[in-house]
Amino acid sequence: MNPTKQIVSGLARRQRAEKRFRLYGLIAVVLGMAFLLLLFGSIVTNGYKAFTQTYIELPIYFDPAVIDPSGERNHQTLFSADYWKLVKTAVYQKFPQVNGRKERRELTRMISEGSAYELRDQVLENPRLIGTTQHVWLAADDDIDMLMKGYIDRNLPEDERRLNDRIIGYVDSMREADAIERRFNTTFFAAGDSREPEQAGILGALMGSFLTLIVTLLLSFPIGVAAAVYLEEFAPRNHFIDLIEININNLAAVPSIIFGLLGLAIFINWFGMPRSTPVVGGLVLGLMTLPTIIIASRVSIQSVPPSIKEAALGVGASRMQAMFHHVLPIATPGMLTGTIIGMARALGETAPLLMIGMVAFIVDPPGGFTEPATALPVQIFLWSDSPERGFTERTSAAILVLLAFLIAMNAAAVYLREKVTKRF
């Protein structure tokens, strides 16, 4: 066989191989995108309904005999009165046909136990309510909420369902009377953690994350920029500086959980700082973010043309003046970009916070840097452990909030990089 023929006969095979190779590449890209879609799709479908919550309308009679028998409107009396009794009475009146202990207990269980506190707050705010009858919308229990959102299959046999036929009957009758409806879930954004899904919110976690990030930023941004300035402009070339650079590069790749161990051993056990607090969390995350900020800031300083510095030096500025008056202002947007990206990573970080005890069950939003707190990703972790369907939904919703923050931060970083950064 002559060589030309040999080549021609092999050509078809080679082109098939080429097409196959190209196809593999395409498949890889499509798979990657598919995973992304699957991830976001599963979280959105799991979570979007948590932004609404089922409420039940009840005509509540603010019975003076229950709330304030003495009639003195004493704050302490109003505060500690048995408001749950009002809810119970109202539910029994709404379903007068229901008798028997068990059935009546099922009735009251349809209303969230937190409703009593809501009534209490209303009365404390406006004591004139006492003695009147008001139509109040109260949060429904999470099982009722799940039923209204269609997560409980009515076709299942009764003993495999979380709700029996009687309760579903009550809900349906209320639905016909427009006494039950889904509304925007303000509790989710305005409350701290709770054992009851319908009372649980992310405000405490958001506050905790916010305080933690402030500490992180205060620690890592100034120190990171200072370190970058030194290493780029003033550092002599010697072994000590090499050591610093090796350390920075390695710290950037150390697993985050190790930083948690550092925080536990040094900040908590050695310095005796309080556990579970934003200040310790912020310090740990700050040390973790520092290499990212140093590396980004160095790149940003490098990208400023040397002619700018030389011009400043040429008219008699010192190196320090050339750096701080001329190079640094131009490099600032780039440094901020790196800082925002570092902060976004710190916001999503969970493992080191587990190590320093920011996993406690904390109801009240933290008021300061040294109060026990939890952070948004940790809250997600805590809720994901809860068996209730209502918490699964809220976990996904909290993830959506977290992702919204991350997207906003990254968009800000991209904006800074594309629009504000000066190019030469």
Partner: protein, 459 residues
């Protein structure tokens, strides 16, 4: 005066010193006996502020760091019989601290602890007064020195710049301090662990059940601390992750850099990188809620018994997380191969894929391997995915359908909740942390070295 007010006062005084020094220098030059200032007025201002304020601030911070411990020691020395009050000194200090900070604990505390807390309060009030007095007098002395020594002839700019330079150097050495802090803290606690458990048992033992006996005669009273099942589980999950991430990441990098039109490339690349920005806790939730049950259901439908916390689910999701990491490093490495090599191969009549497989990939291989090593180190150190989606019980198996546990999972389970720093159970977490730190450090070193060598080759 509370310490917080004091620091603001000191800062305000320092800024007053700034303006005062600046004015004073300008006035002195106007008084004709000095021709001109050595430096700009703001340099004199800064130098004046530093000379006057820095020593007082230093005193302030050093004082606050040591105040708590010294006061506590005094309180303890005052107590008649500290040994009888609590099991250990640390517990007693903890009780007293709680009583000091928390009115509720104060109510519940014993008589002696309450007394100690009261005494602490008194002492700390005195201490704060003393602190205020010391800081203010240090500031006054330093200001007097500024008045004496700060003259227009002082080379203020040079001095200020030296101080700033020292500060910058200090900031850059923080990286070293952090590393040293990590190594020391982990080593110290781990060495305490190795006093109770031998190194060989830890490294080669096949059984891991880190509970300690509450009573001496309890069944299974001695915990087993053999870490081999944890290392095996970590490796299994990382291996599955790389099985997912390496081909998909590499092939998508090749496709995007060599085949895809520019428009597709600019649209798809950032979207793949979103995968890298998603917090790991989100992946963990995805693995536990969606992937795990789906795999289990699929296994049941084909008659396989898949554990609900299988290594496969955790490894798969971890692989998805690492895809953008692999793909962006591969992309860098592939584009760094000189165009001349590409042109040469294509000029000889090779197809794109032949060029890629026979010329570019071999040339880029060191860089790609370095990137994969970094990816493996990330997989080994990844925590949240495995905490949420992998098992808790140590299980020495190579079957990806069973539940295994990893080093990071065990660190988290050992340290979350109540900790006692004298039990091997808690200290074991630090021994595992030491192993984890060491392994990832070695991997990173090799990877960074390989990548740097590779870059130098083509520069």
């Amino acid at each position: 005066m509370s310490p917080l007010v004091l620091i603001f006062l000191l800062l305000a005084l320092s800024s007053a010193a700034y303006f005062f020094s600046q004015r004073r220098m300008l006035r002195q030059t106007r008084n004709a006996n000095v021709a001109r200032l050595n430096s700009l007025p703001e340099h004199f201002g800064t130098l004046g502020a530093i000379w006057a304020g820095a020593p007082a601030l230093l005193v302030y911070f050093v004082w606050l760091i040591f105040e708590g411990d010294i006061l506590m020691a005094q309180v303890l020395a005052m107590l008649p019989d500290p040994e009888s009050m609590a099991a250990t000194r640390e517990l007693l200090i903890g009780d007293i601290r709680n009583a000091i900070n928390n009115p509720m604990s104060y109510q519940m505390a014993s008589e002696e602890v309450r007394m100690a807390a009261d005494r602490y309060h008194e002492l700390s009030q005195t201490a704060t007064l003393a602190l205020t007095a010391t800081c203010l007098s240090v500031f006054a002395i330093c200001s007097a020195l500024v008045l004496k020594f700060l003259t227009p002839r002082v080379r203020a700019r040079v001095r200020v710049e030296k101080i700033i330079r020292g500060f910058l150097l200090l900031c850059s050495t923080l990286a070293i301090f952090t590393t040293v802090g990590i190594v020391l803290s982990v080593l110290f606690e781990a060495s305490r662990f190795f006093q109770a458990v031998s190194v060989t048992e830890f490294l080669f033992g096949l059984e891991w059940s880190p509970q300690m006996a509450i009573r001496e005669d309890q069944v299974g009273s001695s915990g087993a601390f053999g870490a081999v099942p944890l290392f095996a589980g970590t490796l299994l999950i990382s291996f599955i992750a790389m099985l997912v991430a390496a081909p998909i990441g590499l092939m998508s990098a090749i496709y995007l850099s060599e085949y895809a039109p520019a428009k597709v490339r600019t649209a798809v690349k950032p979207m793949l990188e979103i995968l890298a920005g998603v917090p790991t806790v989100v992946y963990g939730f995805f693995a536990a809620i969606t992937v795990g049950p789906a795999l289990r259901g699929f296994g049941q439908s084909v008659g396989l018994d898949v554990a609900s916390e299988s290594a496969l689910a955790a490894g798969f999701v971890m692989g998805v997380m690492i895809i953008p990491f692999v793909s962006s490093i591969s992309d860098d490495v592939i584009t760094a191969v000189p165009q001349a090599m590409r042109d040469g191969s294509l000029g000889m009549g090779a197809t794109n894929s032949e060029t890629m497989r026979r010329v570019i990939l071999p040339a880029a291989l060191p860089g790609i391997i370095g990137g994969l090593l970094l990816a493996i180190s990330r997989a080994i150190g990844e925590t949240m995915i495995v905490v949420m989606a992998a098992g808790l019980s140590a299980n020495l198996t190579a079957n990806p359908l069973e539940a295994v546990t990893t080093v990071t999972v065990q660190i988290v389970t050992l340290l979350v909740g109540d900790q006692e720093f004298d039990s091997p159970k808690t200290l074991a977490a630090f021994a595992l942390g030491l192993a984890l730190f060491f392994i990832t450090l070695v991997l990173n070193f090799i990877a960074l070295y390989v990548v740097r060598k590779y870059r130098e080759q083509y520069e």
